[in-house]
């Protein structure tokens, strides 16, 4: 990845954080461009995607109510739904722009890289502007020299989905 090396340190080898940042930016670009199948390919086969409710950000999907708790079967179905003209909340698709900052590699455990970041996702549709604000926890895995998402947790800072009405896009 020559782009990564451009931002590297003195000997032009990207730091882990730089690699992780590039990965997160790439993920954001795939979502903003609605390249959902390519986005899905970023996940491991046993991955999970979780979005807790706004009133219980630490919510455990096994025993508490969350907004989204997808294994790969449901996540694939979510992508199919978003690609369908019967996914009415996103047909036609909204325009989105994702800003990802404050990227921190929190710890390494075996092949797992725990990363947190802040996000601001603007969504524009039908005359409405609805920004989602919060932070991500990505648990990434290095598989065959490629980073993959093993677990993604999207924690929202808003008190309610006041402007949004739903979590209809992938966050």
């Amino acid at each position: 990845m020559p782009e990564a090396r451009l931002g590297g340190n003195d000997n032009s080898v990207p730091t882990l954080r730089e690699e992780v940042e590039d990965f997160l930016y790439q993920e954001a670009a795939l979502l903003d461009e609605w390249r959902l199948d390519e986005w899905l390919a970023l996940f491991t086969v046993d991955a999970r995607y979780v979005v807790p409710t706004t009133d219980l950000p630490e919510g455990d999907p096994k025993k508490e109510l969350v907004f989204i708790d997808d294994d790969m079967v449901r996540l694939r179905a979510r992508v199919e739904r978003l690609k369908s003209r019967h996914g009415h909340r996103e047909y036609p698709w909204s325009r989105t722009r994702r800003f990802i900052t404050n990227v921190r590699v929190k710890r390494l455990e075996g092949h797992n890289i725990f990363v947190t970041s802040s996000f601001l996702v603007y969504r524009f549709r039908m005359g409405d502007t609805s920004p989602y604000v919060g932070w991500y926890e990505h648990r990434l895995k290095q598989i065959d020299r490629e980073l993959k998402i093993h677990h993604k947790r999207t924690v929202l800072d808003m008190e309610t989905l006041r402007e949004h009405g739903a979590v209809s896009i992938i966050l």
């Binding site: 025993k63 109510l65 996914g87």
Partner: protein, 434 residues
């Protein structure tokens, strides 16, 4: 504002229409506040949310800030969330546990039974000041039906059980599913919809939209192994008006129910537990009632704005108008206290697939009713058409249950109080029977 003529109820020709200004007019919203929300019983919370002494929850009901707290004496009380001194909010967190509530403005302190127990420099008040009279104030009426706590701002409202009318049986069918009582699962879905609140009443009871609107949901469950035939016939059960504007739409669940109909989708490991639950229900309530509880799903309206969806999961949904074109929705998940982890996981899993704002169906309902609200701006079409099934014994895919709501709403708005909310075909039958 001329209210007469907002609704056309013409059984002879099988025509039922509602004037769309009912969804757009600020004057009508103001009247609804006085004539509907200030007159009815309104859902506040479930008693399991204030399980222990000192537990409190903050809630807005019909625009009024309230909180509910279980006092150190074990009694649940509801208070207007305003200091009796100068008005500041007393309870400033959504939930918690406390023995005392102190107003931060002048440090007046109340105990969790609402008594004023501390006033800084009380000597500054004259002899007319009576601390005992300055406790927190409650809404005029508070009552609890089987764990569901309701309030009313109408001191003369009929008792809650009478008010619930035929909806009571359906609440019983839900609550009786639990062996040790129900509890509200932590976590709530809070979202706004840019539409009139009555459109969510309609949508929540409407079996007609389910197949066309929620195509992607049914595609998903079909991909998991649910037979498409089950989906096609699911909504052919009768719909019912339950009196006082309450209504129910029943349907056959297509994915089994944790209580208590096993489906291969739940996995072999849950088979025995579900069979055990079913046997317990049969023993306690008999075969017929067990079938009602465990095989059939239902969407219940407790007039005016509480929806209980009793299906694989039990969704409790309440919504309040903010403006004629904006409502605030909160949804929770109810489950038996004793429910085992595996079954709870499947219950939650269904909620997330269908009902949640991140699910495969609710976002499309939000889109649908926002789309209706946006369409009203065209103005040239004055009426919404709700006649479906008026000439026959209506089923879940008809609109009888919506008409029941609207008839009662119209009755309240015109100041008539209770009206007969049934379709005429059923009115005639009950008069023959009597």
């Amino acid at each position: 504002m001329e209210l007469k003529g907002l609704m056309i109820d013409n059984p002879k020709d099988g025509i039922f229409r509602v004037h769309r200004s009912a969804m757009t007019s600020p004057e009508i919203l103001q009247m609804e506040q006085e004539r509907v929300f200030n007159k009815c019983w309104l859902y506040l919370c479930h008693e399991s949310e204030v399980e222990n002494p000192g537990d409190y929850r903050r809630r807005n009901v019909a625009g009024r800030p309230l909180f509910v707290v279980r006092g150190s004496d074990g009694k649940v009380r509801v208070f207007l969330n305003t200091c009796t001194h100068r008005g500041a909010l007393i309870c400033r967190r959504d939930q918690g546990n406390t023995e005392v509530l102190q107003c931060f403005y002048h440090a007046w302190t109340f105990n969790n039974q609402g008594e004023l127990i501390g006033v800084p420099d009380e000597a500054g008040y004259g002899k007319g000041f009576n601390r005992a009279e300055m406790g927190l104030k409650s809404p005029p009426r508070v009552d609890n039906y089987r764990g569901f706590i309701f309030v009313s701002f109408n001191p003369d409202v009929e008792d809650l059980v009478t008010y619930l009318a035929g909806a009571r049986d359906y609440i019983d069918l839900i609550v009786d599913q639990a062996e040790e009582g129900m509890r509200m699962i932590p976590g709530s879905n809070r979202y706004f919809i840019k539409a009139n609140w009555k459109l969510l009443v309609e949508n929540s009871l409407d079996g007609y939209h389910v197949k066309p609107t929620h195509k992607t949901y049914f595609e998903y469950v079909t991909s998991l192994g649910v037979k498409t035939g089950a989906v096609q016939t699911a909504f052919s059960r009768p719909a019912r008006a339950l009196g006082n504007g309450h209504a129910v739409e029943e349907h056959d669940g297509v994915r089994g129910r944790p209580i208590a109909r096993w489906s291969p989708l739940f996995g072999e490991e849950t088979k025995e537990e579900i069979a055990r639950i079913r046997a317990r229900l049969v023993e306690k309530f008999g075969e017929q009632r067990t079938r009602l509880m465990a095989d059939i799903s239902r969407n219940l309206l407790v007039y005016p704005n509480l929806i209980i969806i009793d299906s694989i999961d039990i969704t409790v949904r309440i919504f309040w108008p903010i403006t004629p074109e904006l409502m605030e929705v909160t949804a929770w998940q109810l489950a038996p206290k004793e429910e085992k982890r595996e079954l709870l996981a499947r219950r939650l899993d269904n909620f997330l697939t269908f009902h949640g704002p991140g699910g495969f169906a609710t976002p499309d309902d939000v889109e649908a009713i926002e789309s209706c609200q946006a369409g009203y701006k065209a103005e040239g079409v004055e009426w919404s058409e709700l006649s479906r099934g008026m000439h026959r014994e209506a089923i879940a895919e008809d609109e009888l249950q919506l008409r029941a709501f609207w008839r009662q709403w119209y009755g309240y708005m015109l100041g008539l109080g209770k009206v007969d909310t049934k379709d005429p075909v059923f009115r005639e039958r009950s008069s023959v029977a009597s």
